[in-house]
């Protein structure tokens, strides 16, 4: 059976160019970038070049890029370490109810330490209200952490506006850009961002590598303690092949490519809507279809069909979509994002799936997926009569 992958917000396949770059690195170079000999210098050269490529991609300086193991480590470092470094100036933090668990769990940890967290609510389109943000901002607010784009619905948060509002405020501004990086243009200068988290594997790079952008002059202690790598902000021998692969993945995405992809993904959404409408499927889009949103994420409420059942039946038919995150015993947990949008007891929370597109997604694949979706839903309703 052919398997079609429509879960690119979870992870993406590595680009062939990335595989080639990494293979070459692993085959030819193995040095430790901290070593003061030939092999070390070779590794250092790759590290510096990669850092430069990546810094350019967000309009940052090379030294502002800290390589980490990925989005979770970047978020943990950004949130916990800066909060601890600034706690003498205040203990209030602003975030949203729909952040990634790496952010929410870091904040929960800080709350246990006595920090006060304000979680901004979202509306039914998964957007925050800037008025809520302004109202929440206090003189003792030391950190604002708001995601750039949501991983479940693709909703964009008003990062630029918040950055402007914080220009005249001492609070540090962090944004989790794991889902947005590589999909939309990012300019940390223009948006006045102090800290920004990314992950390579969401943009066809390798897993277990990412970076944290930290504005020059922003001081905090490293989360991972040890050697003096990454300007003493992240200990551990750099994973040069992964970093080189990450830089390659970044280099593959220029403004035009990015723009074309967003347009292509928007067309996929319309293709799905048209097909489902034509086949009279009872559904609704969770979020908006605005062109400003992250286009690769598409969240649908399939009315009357439980998420887990639909996700499994699509999987068994060869289509990989997401039904949310699973607990350690494998069963799906209700989405905190849909809960924040619609309320805990709303049907959307129990009857929605997330489809996410990638560079390899084709119109034909979307068409096949639509057929499978309609087929699965019809079968589901037929089966209800057979239950005991």
């Amino acid at each position: 059976m052919e398997h079609i992958y429509l879960d690119n917000a979870a992870t993406t396949p590595m680009a062939p160019e990335v595989v080639a770059t990494m293979t070459e690195q692993m085959t030819n170079d193995f040095g430790n970038a901290s070593s003061t000999h030939y092999f070390g210098r070779q590794a250092r050269m790759v590290l510096d070049a990669s850092r430069h490529t990546i810094a350019q991609s967000i309009h940052a300086k090379d030294d502002e890029i800290i390589f980490t193991s990925g989005g979770s480590e970047s978020d943990n470092t950004a949130i916990i370490q800066t909060a601890l470094a600034h706690q003498d100036q205040g203990r209030h933090i602003i975030s949203t109810a729909v952040e990634h668990p790496a952010v929410l769990k870091s904040l929960a940890y800080l709350a246990d330490l006595g920090f006060e967290i304000t979680y901004l609510p979202v509306d039914e389109t998964n957007h925050i209200d800037l008025a809520d943000f302004k109202a929440a901002l206090r003189p003792d607010t030391i950190l604002v952490t708001i995601m750039m784009g949501n991983n479940e619905t693709g909703a964009r948060m008003p990062i630029h506006e918040i950055g402007q509002l914080l220009k005249a405020h001492p609070a540090v501004f962090h944004t989790d850009a794991v889902q947005a990086y590589g999909l939309v243009p990012i300019d940390v200068e223009a948006d006045h961002i102090d800290l920004l988290s990314t992950s390579a594997h969401k943009i066809n790079g390798p897993k277990f590598i990412g970076f944290l952008y930290a504005r020059e002059g922003l001081n905090f202690l490293p989360l991972i303690k040890g050697g003096e790598q990454e300007h003493k902000r992240r200990a551990g021998t750099e994973n040069i092949p992964a970093i080189a692969g990450f830089a390659k993945a970044v280099a593959l995405i220029d403004d035009e490519t990015r723009h074309k992809r967003q347009l292509k993904y928007a067309q996929f959404k319309q293709q799905i809507i048209d097909y489902l409408t034509k086949h009279q499927l009872n559904f609704s889009v969770n979020g908006t279809l605005e062109a400003t949103e992250l286009q690769h994420v598409f969240n649908l409420w399939i009315k009357g069909v439980p998420t887990d059942v639909l996700q499994m039946n699509l999987d068994l038919a060869g289509f990989a979509v997401s039904g949310g995150s699973a607990c350690t015993a494998g069963s799906l947990e209700p989405s905190h994002v849909l809960t924040a949008m619609f309320g805990a007891h709303s049907p959307q929370v129990a009857q929605s799936i997330r489809i996410s597109f990638g560079v390899q997604t084709t119109t034909a694949a979307i068409d096949a997926f639509c057929q499978a979706l309609v087929d699965s839903v019809q079968k589901y309703f037929e089966q209800q009569a057979r239950k005991i």
Partner: protein, 372 residues
């Protein structure tokens, strides 16, 4: 035979029996899907949840066999349909059988319905029980091939509709052969210890577990003729015929050990007496309710068969008199020790399990024994 178009959803618990169940079906060419049921939130204080470990075993086994696997959460269904019943029976001084209820309400209902959602033709379980389909298409439940492991007692409340959808691929096997198959196939669960006790309590202290949900009311412990022997810590902790836990020495008329011979829920009295074979422990008949039979054919009003009154007991010959409202009077060929209200009475005709009901009361001749 081409089984590839027949979809079977296997209830995989992370144990060796359900692992081999999935293995055999896969070898027979079925379209096999493994589904793990999480019925109880058992996360302990250190955050360890045995369901996680069991699910990880399911993942390992399913990957080895080459089948897709998923997990489904039936915590709410289990709580509402099994655990509430379980507590309620204890509240009434009875000794419930949650496994019978779990099979009836969860494994062969919630899970079966879930499998239907996955377009399954059958569900399969790792029970030691067998089925046989007769010429009319009626499915009969037969005892497991391993007499020591036979689990038909726990399946006794299933309906024909439920049996029609059930497969028990290891039902005719010996346990040791099941383990050997698992080992030969390199399954991670080949040497895993069998789970013991009631599934949601596991290895924990039963008394402590129960006390977290039901208030224990201490009371008097006395002999049937009124001699106070001490205190009991709550009637729910005692089962008819049970020896341990009485906390009284040999201060009776003989040196024989003491047993629970009765309860008075209203007065909160626990009756104890001496001797394993104490006459108060022997009943000659019982009354049962909630009777169900697995085949839909009409039973005669009175018939003779054999019966079990608890798991792993030798069958006893009985005469069943069916009464109105799915009740029955069951008269034993010989007196039976420690008939326990709340437990299942299960009927057999030779190797076939006919069905069963719940024991409500035990009688010695015409006199009801004070068991609840």
């Amino acid at each position: 035979m081409d089984n590839s178009k027949t979809r079977v959803v296997v209830g995989m618990s992370g144990g060796v029996d359900s692992s081999v169940t999935a293995l055999l079906l896969k070898e027979q060419g079925y379209d096999v899907i493994g589904v793990f049921m999480k019925n109880w939130d058992d996360t302990d204080d250190s955050g360890v949840c045995t369901a996680t470990e069991d699910y990880e075993d399911v993942a390992k086994v399913a990957a080895k066999i080459g089948i897709p696997y998923y997990s489904v959460n039936f915590e709410k269904e289990y709580w509402d349909n099994v655990f509430e019943y379980f507590l309620d029976e204890y509240r009434h001084g009875r000794t419930p059988n949650p496994d019978v209820m779990c099979n009836k309400e969860i494994k062969f209902k919630s899970f079966l319905n879930y499998a239907t959602d996955l377009n399954a033709d059958y569900i399969a379980m790792g029970h030691y029980a067998q089925t046989y389909k007769d010429d009319q298409g009626t499915v009969h439940l037969l005892r497991g091939g391993d007499a020591n492991k036979d689990q038909t007692y726990f399946l006794s409340a299933l309906s024909q509709e439920q049996l029609q959808k059930a497969m028990f691929p290891i039902g005719g096997m010996q346990k040791k052969d099941v383990r050997q198959l698992a080992e030969e196939a390199g399954l991670a669960t080949a040497k895993k210890k069998d789970s013991t006790g009631v599934c949601f309590i596991g290895e924990r202290n039963f008394k402590k577990f129960l006390s977290e949900f039901l208030p224990a009311k201490a009371g008097v412990m006395q002999t049937p003729d009124g001699k106070i022997m001490g205190q009991h810590s709550g009637l729910m902790y005692y089962t008819i015929g049970q020896r341990s836990g009485l906390g009284i020495g040999g201060n009776g008329q003989s040196n024989e050990p003491w047993f629970v011979v009765g309860k008075d829920l209203e007065k909160n009295i626990l009756y104890v007496d001496q001797g394993f074979h104490n006459e108060k422990l022997y009943a000659t008949s019982l009354k049962a309710s909630g009777l169900s039979f697995m085949t839909n054919e009409t039973k005669p009003e009175t018939f003779h068969c054999t019966a079990k009154f608890r798991y792993r007991q030798q069958d006893v010959g009985v005469t069943v008199h069916l009464l109105a409202d799915n009740q029955a009077e069951v008269v034993f060929d010989e007196p039976v020790r420690a008939i326990t209200p709340g437990q299942a009475v299960v009927f057999y005709d030779g190797e076939e399990c006919l069905g069963g009901g719940t024991i409500d009361a035990a009688y010695q001749a015409e006199k009801q024994l004070q068991y609840v």
